[in-house]
């Protein structure tokens, strides 16, 4: 362990992210070799070709519109999930009796495997954007409700009592006591809700789609065009990682005042 280390090793030892990049490069290299020499090119194409042909993926007629449509579905579903989750979370969480009565029902619904009712969503909302948005909302709303309830629950009763005894109005109590306390758990809820919305929208897209991402993943799969398929999936995966990183930042930022 303490043997005189080469400069490379010492460099890496101080920078875990550099080693992480090396690991990623190694995996991509494995993929490249496997795709070039081992696996049938109908099923897998090497990363170099995927990256080189990203341009043609976006040039495929309909793909930019499909990405736009899927992003639109995600955005609408996320906004709806946050709004509904916040309202329901506060409604369930603020009164102890209501919480004891309805929180178990929320948890029961949250634990339900929602994919089983995916065909119903298509029947109710059609094969267009509405069913994707609805399915995204039902996936995203439960983690938000649960974290909002948990956040309100952690509120110390003494804070409410003292605010009230100092003559704070209902609105003031909400604005200056409940709201700041909810913010950290609210952002945790937003992050979980975001991954729920992503999952719901993509599941519905993959199930049946006439214009979104799901349409093109199906098309590229059926045409045995792994280059374009991987390009499209790669872009979406990168988007998911970026979205997650943004929400995580926001979460850390808004949780700061508590730690101090």
């Amino acid at each position: 362990m303490n043997a005189p280390a080469s400069p490379v090793v010492r460099y890496l030892a101080r920078r875990p992210w550099a080693a992480r990049l090396l690991v990623i490069a190694f995996l991509v290299g494995l993929w490249e070799i496997a795709a070039r020499f081992v696996v049938d090119p109908l099923f897998l194409s090497p990363p170099s070709r995927v990256i080189a042909s990203l341009g043609t993926v976006f040039a495929t007629r309909g793909v930019p519109a499909a990405l736009q449509l899927t992003l639109f579905e995600l955005a609408v579903a996320f906004v709806l999930a946050v709004a509904i989750g916040l309202v329901l979370g506060l409604a369930v969480g603020l009164q102890p009796f209501v919480r004891r009565s309805f929180f178990p029902i929320v948890l029961l619904l949250y634990g339900m495997p929602q994919v089983t009712i995916l065909p119903l969503f298509i029947l109710f909302f059609g094969i267009g954007a509405a069913s994707k948005i609805a399915f995204g909302v039902t996936h995203g709303v439960f983690p938000i409700i649960v974290t909002v309830v948990a956040g309100v629950q952690n509120l110390k009763p003494i804070l409410l009592t003292s605010a009230r005894s100092m003559g704070a109005s209902r609105w003031q109590i909400f604005r200056y006591v409940i709201f700041p306390h909810m913010v950290p758990s609210f952002f945790t809820g937003m992050r979980l809700g975001m991954s729920g919305v992503l999952l719901g929208v993509l599941l519905a897209e993959l199930y049946v789609s006439i214009a979104g991402i799901g349409y093109f993943t199906t098309l590229f799969t059926q045409n045995f065009d792994p280059t374009k398929l991987l390009g499209l999936i790669g872009v979406l995966a990168a988007m998911a990682i970026a979205l997650n990183a943004v929400v995580r930042r926001a979460e850390a930022h808004f949780a700061r005042w508590r730690a101090g």
Binding site: P104, Y207, P226, I233, L236
Partner: protein, 258 residues
């Protein structure tokens, strides 16, 4: 004083049970009224009585057994793979703080990707049969298990390790009597999370592209517009999932206590 407060609490608990029962009853009554009186299309909302009859018929005839076997078999295989891989890799990574700093963010970033996106690739590689579901379920449930294993073993209090060492514990004793008991609660909750997502992704991938299994059955019934039977199967699958999750949570709670 104490008596009245426990009495009050008991009455409160009873009242919230009543609200819960009332809520569920109201949902079913509304469903019944919507299906029979308010003229909601039978293809959108079948009569709950018909759904119940179908459910009884499914359970009695045993026609679910084949699909249930397929789904549970896939689940068992996927979970076995992800537990073996996740715990082993997680343990190896957790042995060095440096490896944790290299791999943990990597796993966390991949965990943020909805891996269900890759389903078309899994189907290309492994076909429409059980293999693609097993592979997908294992890939998805690997990450929570690996991440929790790293956290579990990685955050064992150093002083426990030092104390055990100074009392002359061997590697095996250290592992068996210090590391494992200290890490177990976190690992167990990782296993529970992994189990839940494996179940979800297997039913999900059966719904999206498959030849057999409970998810496939539901889609098949939806496409042939046998709504009452489809609702009955949905109820059946939800019940199965609830039972499995309850069993796993029970096992987790039990493992924590030991």
């Amino acid at each position: 004083m104490a008596d009245t407060s426990t009495g009050l609490r008991r009455r409160d608990a009873l009242a919230s049970r009543l609200v819960q029962v009332g809520f569920l009853a109201a949902v079913i009554v509304l469903w019944y009224l919507a299906a029979t009186r308010w003229g909601v299309n039978r293809l959108l909302l079948p009569n709950p009585v018909a759904v119940f009859d179908n459910l009884v018929d499914i359970l009695r005839s045993g026609e679910y057994i084949d699909d249930l076997k397929v789904t549970l078999g896939e689940l068992a295989a996927a979970f076995a793979i992800s537990v073996t891989g996740g715990v082993t890799l997680g343990y190896l990574v957790s042995r060095s703080p440096y490896a944790i700093r290299v791999f943990e963010p990597l796993f966390a970033a991949i965990y943020a990707i909805p891996i269900i996106l890759f389903l078309p690739l899994f189907v290309l590689f492994f076909g429409l049969g059980p293999a693609s579901k097993i592979a997908l379920g294992a890939a998805i449930s690997f990450f929570p298990i690996a991440i929790n294993t790293i956290t579990g073993f990685g955050t064992v209090d150093r002083s426990y390790v030092t104390a055990a060492r100074s009392m002359g514990a061997s590697d095996y004793h250290l592992f068996r009597h210090v590391l494992v008991p200290a890490a177990l609660p976190v690992i167990l909750s990782g296993l529970r999370m992994g189990f839940t997502v494996a179940l979800l992704s297997i039913i999900g991938s059966e719904t999206l592209a498959s030849l057999a299994g409970l998810g496939h059955r539901i889609v098949h019934l939806a496409e042939s517009m046998e709504m009452a039977r489809m609702f009955a199967y949905i109820v059946f699958v939800i019940a199965i999932a609830a039972i499995l999750n309850a069993v796993v949570s029970g096992l987790e709670a039990r493992g924590r206590r030991n």
